[in-house]
């Protein structure tokens, strides 16, 4: 009975927490299924996975705009105010010859969030269209988005350290810009979106077609 079928097709579900295999009752929607071993609430598929993923992704797209456009730091040096966005920080590192650090910031703050948003959108669309295209690679893409997402927090941490170290100095003062909040929100929203997406839906479309 094992080999090509999903557990759900055979009326079974694995507990996401302790991996115990449970029998799914016929009316699973009305009853909450609890794992008899670890007590976790077991969903054969994450509930409302696609609509939750889309909602979180849309919010992340919207927040990404102010995160890029607004300043992330406001530095006052000897009475002169300088506002920096995430991109101007990257450009500064490249121009001053510190291109390895510039590259790190660019990848973590610009490339990774955009990549993560696009991959999750692609996955959600492919599931919605019941696509049968390369399920193994799509599952792998999903695992990548789960892994890389939190590296985007690096800019938020840099701002945190700058604020702590340059505070109350006679030469300069530094303030957190509004982009820091929007940017941190994008990171958190994409992490939540990846959690909301259920990669098992990718494989359901294949089994329905078979």
């Amino acid at each position: 009975m094992t080999g090509t079928h999903s557990a759900l097709r055979l009326g079974l579900a694995g507990c996401h927490s302790c991996q115990l295999l449970l029998r799914v009752p016929a009316r699973v929607r009305s009853s909450t299924l609890r794992c008899p071993r670890c007590g976790a609430v077991v969903h054969p598929r994450k509930p409302r996975s696609l609509s939750r993923t889309w909602a979180l992704l849309l919010a992340a797209y919207v927040f990404y705009v102010p995160a890029m456009v607004l300043p992330i730091t406001r530095i006052t040096t000897l009475g002169r105010l300088q506002e920096d966005t995430i991109m101007s920080g990257v450009v500064y590192f490249f121009q001053s010859g510190e291109w390895p650090i510039g590259l790190v910031i660019f990848v973590a703050s610009v490339f990774v969030p955009v990549l993560k948003l696009l991959i999750l959108s692609l996955l959600a669309v492919s599931v919605q269209w019941r696509s049968q295209w390369r399920p193994r690679d799509r599952t792998r893409l999903y695992r990548i988005t789960e892994m890389v997402g939190h590296w985007s927090m690096v800019d938020v941490y840099v701002v945190t350290l700058l604020v702590a170290l340059v505070k109350a100095g006679a030469l300069a003062s530094i303030e957190v810009g509004p982009a820091a909040f929007y940017f941190a929100s994008v990171v958190v929203l994409t992490i939540l979106a990846a959690n909301a997406f259920d990669p098992r839906l990718i494989w359901d479309a294949l089994e329905e077609a078979a």
């Binding site: 094992t2 080999g3 079928h5 999903s6 557990a7 055979l10 079974l12 579900a13 694995g14 927490s17 302790c18 991996q19 295999l21 449970l22 029998r23 008899p36 071993r37 670890c38 007590g39 976790a40 590192f93 650090i101 790190v104 910031i105 973590a108 399920p135 599952t139 792998r140 999903y142 695992r143 939190h150 590296w151 927090m153 690096v154 800019d155 938020v156 941490y157 840099v158 945190t160 350290l161 700058l162 604020v163 702590a164 170290l165 340059v166 505070k167 100095g169 030469l171 300069a172 303030e175 957190v176 820091a180 909040f181 941190a184 992490i191 990669p199 098992r200 990718i202 494989w203 359901d204």
Partner: protein, 200 residues
């Protein structure tokens, strides 16, 4: 239910539990997801790492991570001071996020490991072990210390031209704790916990 069967968490394929050598990882044969790991001696190793981790956590949080010398002024920043600096600027959500991902999450990881694996070392299970193990995975997911370390590196480069940067003792402990938590995560044998609970 047949205990030799497992459903893949990523693709839901029902399959026989693959045999794995000690220290190996069982993978789903359809999508390649990691299913489980066999960790011989994992309980004691996890416990030892968490105990050492608690000491490092204290050092990392009590001592400055970085100091900046600007002329006569020397400003040192601990992790808590950095969070407080955000808070003082009215960035309450950011302060909460930084504290949550770099102080609270790693501390909860260490404490829940101790709570679960110290009794397990003596062949016992603590009360409410299941919810603690479940939360442990969530705490691990929100621990972002390694990203903070990259942030420290970027900050050093950024300030190096304007001021003298001195690493504090906290940063060494912080660095070591990251590796220690990663080692604890690989040694952690949650299967040993579930196997002991049995089905009520």
């Amino acid at each position: 239910m047949n205990a030799s069967l497992i459903a893949c968490p990523d693709c839901d394929l029902l399959q026989h539990k693959p045999l794995v050598p000690p220290g190996g990882v069982a993978r789903c044969r359809r999508c390649g997801a990691g299913l489980y790991r066999r960790v011989p001696g994992g309980v004691d190793r996890t416990l030892a790492l968490a105990l050492a981790g608690l000491v490092l956590f204290a050092v990392a949080n009590l001592f400055p991570l970085l100091s900046v010398r600007l002329g006569e002024d020397l400003v040192s920043a601990t992790l808590a001071a950095a969070v407080k600096a955000l808070w003082d600027q009215g960035e309450l959500a950011l302060a909460g996020l930084v504290a949550g991902t770099c102080i609270v999450a790693p501390l909860l990881v260490l404490l829940s490991i101790l709570y679960v694996f110290a009794p397990l070392h003596f062949g016992r299970l603590p009360p409410a072990v299941a919810p603690v193990v479940r939360s442990l995975h969530a705490f691990q997911a929100w621990n972002m210390m390694e990203v903070f370390l990259l942030g420290i590196l970027v900050t050093v480069v950024k300030l190096a031209k304007m001021a003298t940067i001195l690493p504090g003792p906290g940063v060494v402990a912080f660095f070591m704790l990251i590796f220690l938590l990663a080692a604890a995560a690989t040694a952690m044998d949650t299967e040993a916990v579930w196997a002991r609970i049995g089905i009520r």
